[in-house]
Amino acid sequence: MNFQTSAGTAPDEGRRLRREAVVIRFAGDSGDGIQSAGNQFGIEAALAGNDLSTYPDYPSEIRAPAGTTYGVSSFQIQIASQEIHTPGDKLDCLVAFNPAALKVHLVDLKPGGVLIVDAGAFKAAGLKKAGYDHDPLSEDHADELADYRLLNVDISTLTRETVAAIPDIDVSSKKDALKARNMWVLGLVLWLYGRDKHATLEWIDKKFGTKPLVRAVNFAAVEAGYAFGATALLPSGLEPVTIEPAKAAPGLYRTATGAETTAYGLAAGALKQGLLPVYCSYPITPATTMLHTLARLGEEAGIRTFQAEDEIAAICAAIGASYAGGLGMTGTSGPGMALKSEGFGLAVAAELPLVIVNVQRGGPSTGLPTKVEQSDLLQAVAGRHGDAPMPVIAMRAPSEGFDIAVEAARIAVKYMTPVIVLSDGYIANAAEPWKIPSLTDLPDRRLQRGDAHGIQPFARDPQTLARPWIVPGMAGGVHRLGGLERQDGSGEVSYDPKNHERMTELRMKKIDGIAEDIPLQEVDLGAETGDIAVLGWGSTYGAITDAVEKLVAEGLSVSHIHLRYIHPFPRNLPELLKGFKKVIVPELNTGQLTMLLRAKTLLPIEAVTKVAGRPFQIGEVETAIRAALSEMSS
């Protein structure tokens, strides 16, 4: 189904308060359907024209025991009438499906924020599991939640009643009624924030089309939650709200996660060069969703996906695919990057194009596999044996995955090199409005492949220093390729010391030369020179933007520079940074980009680090900048 709605209208517009942005978090057990409720809310907000940003966060267990604090799954979303870049710091609204969710997440709710709890879930057993020695909802402890606008409803019972009222409902559906709590809540929250429920009903229709009773139950639950908002006497202070559509560039939009946009970009990047996309991967959280997306896409259309037996096989199959003339690609996360690093070396030596996406997660080792971190940067830049330079580029937001992947494919083929794309667990899972790029508008870089007679496999293009891509099947191109050092030109095995020196230099120059082929670094926000440059890369983009925006508005001399190209750096970067009295680098690691920048520029650049498995909050970045400013003036 591929239907379009134009930016929609909210229900009973008239009597609602207008807000510029709200931050809502749904939290409950992994089995509570938190993620789908959140997702659907996002779609409705998007269809209503809001900008939005989401942050799904779930435990690494599949279904951790119900009611435990470590089993809590959550989904945060910010929707707004202006451009936003993060899912928000503090919550305007928290929905807690059970005591554990309340326990874990209450700390993030703003004073005065809306707190929706399912009173039906606050029973003795659940409270105990969550570590409560009392019921925070009880009258005796009223002060505990006094700071919030509490909506204490027995959602369980209401949902059950709703379901029971459906004509012809059978017993088992009644038993399963509780599963529809998420839809009841979704209905209520949609109403509260003035969003439509049309797309949600369509989604239910499509998803449960073959199971009419389940469909009916979910329908009824959404409607009941919605109606509850419209008709129930909500506690005072709980006024319904609406958020105007945000301005956005004209075009056709959808919401998409970073995993989706990146997967599409990989496919497009190959296809637009006339190359068969061959995506070889081994499942690993949070990179697997790219494989899922491409597998769904591929099997019918001939895009090749290959679930290998491990990461080593995945990179090697990708290398084999590129050797044979397709565009080999792979995606993984930290532990998989480690395993692939010998393969990267081969691709560097053989000078074959490849695109590798690393969806970073918390390390070291298995670490925090479902959480975000940016700690694989140095591994990407330098984690290979020998002098084995590879370009590294990073996406800053879910909506940028497509462009970055296409760019990586371009560089890989043009320079005959493996390229590393850095994403992370936040970008891969989070959704944003995405302006769908037109494949026909994308430049067509179709390669011509013909006769290889008289062409040496390591003769280089004088401009790019790339070697020609002679692939099996090409007439006159028969040659041998391998990981032993190759003779400049002929590509034959060579142990000649001078040749090794020359080849090492050529490989380095080729990659360094890419700096001539990428845009100069621009300042994202703020002046071109000034007191402080806040330099970021990757998913810290949103938090830095919002923090700098605020400070710039206060008239402070702060600028935001955000890197896409990490190796090589844009060639004007050192000059640009010299224009600031101080450069600070917020990163979700212990200072990895900072180290590279210091080595490159010799400027006393300082890192602002966070290694907590979570994105920066805007406030954290703001505080760091203010601290840096006050240090300067002191």
Partner: protein, 333 residues
Amino acid sequence: MTAEVALKPKDYASAQDVRWCPGCGNYSVIKAVQKTLAEAGNDPENTVFVSGIGCSSRFPYYMETYGFHTIHGRAAAVATGVKIAKPELDVWVVSGDGDSLAIGGNHLLHLLRRNVDVTYLLLNNEIYGLTKGQASPTSRRGTLSPTSPHGTLDQPVNPIEFAIGAHGRFIARCVDSLQGLLSETFSRAHAFHGTSFVEILQNCLVFNDGVFADQEDKKKNEETLLWLRHGEPMLYGADKSKGIRFNPKTYALEPVTIGLDGVTLDDIVVHDETSHGLAMMLSALEAPLPVGVIYAAPEATFIGRQPIPQGTMAKSTARLAGAMHAGNTWRVE
């Protein structure tokens, strides 16, 4: 895949000096491969040799075809990628016992179970040649080497048993010295759709000289080898007076002498290369050692040799555009 002008075996030899030790068993193997390609009329431009690292893995350098000398143990995985991207290529993998069964065991397992359409030659010298003589997973118990100064302790891998356990569909064994056996077997392997796995006993005269002397020696090997031929009784010995019988007590094959203890030709098992049961028992037989095609039971292969159809890319682009537009979309004017 056939060349336009009839090529001779030597046309498949590259201009590179062969750098194996003079007398290495690999020489006769490459000769047989070149003969096989010439007989099949292979087009060198559509033929690819992929290898890992080891003496044996230098093979592609000496072939006048496309060749890729990759990294240790990973040839099977690289070859799989080659076939995925361009199924119509004729892909051979050449690997050593260490390359295939130490570091590369996992990829070989998966290549076999996926039945990827490649011809796989495992040059088994029961030693690490290139790194100067350490024991390999196929080294016999007690092998003395710099890493096992008092002899290896572990049970060696039997490549044929391993391949059976991995669901290989074409499994054969050869001896380096027997050109006839090599080229007959290679032709069969080459023609097979799916993974054709051939173990070749290969003498490393520097680090493991003579381990296969009994199999290589033309005089001795009439007694030590059992040359299998589909549909023929399993006879061996200089005058074919010996044969293989099924022992119902041990559920295993055993050597017998015709005429002795009442054994007649009727007791002798007739080779059926499509029989999985027989293949399993043959894989465990050591004396005489079965050579030739042990098992050949074609099955669908999904990483096969059918070229990617014309128009696939256009279809892919259209479908990609479709997927990018799927779900809820909205237009901002």
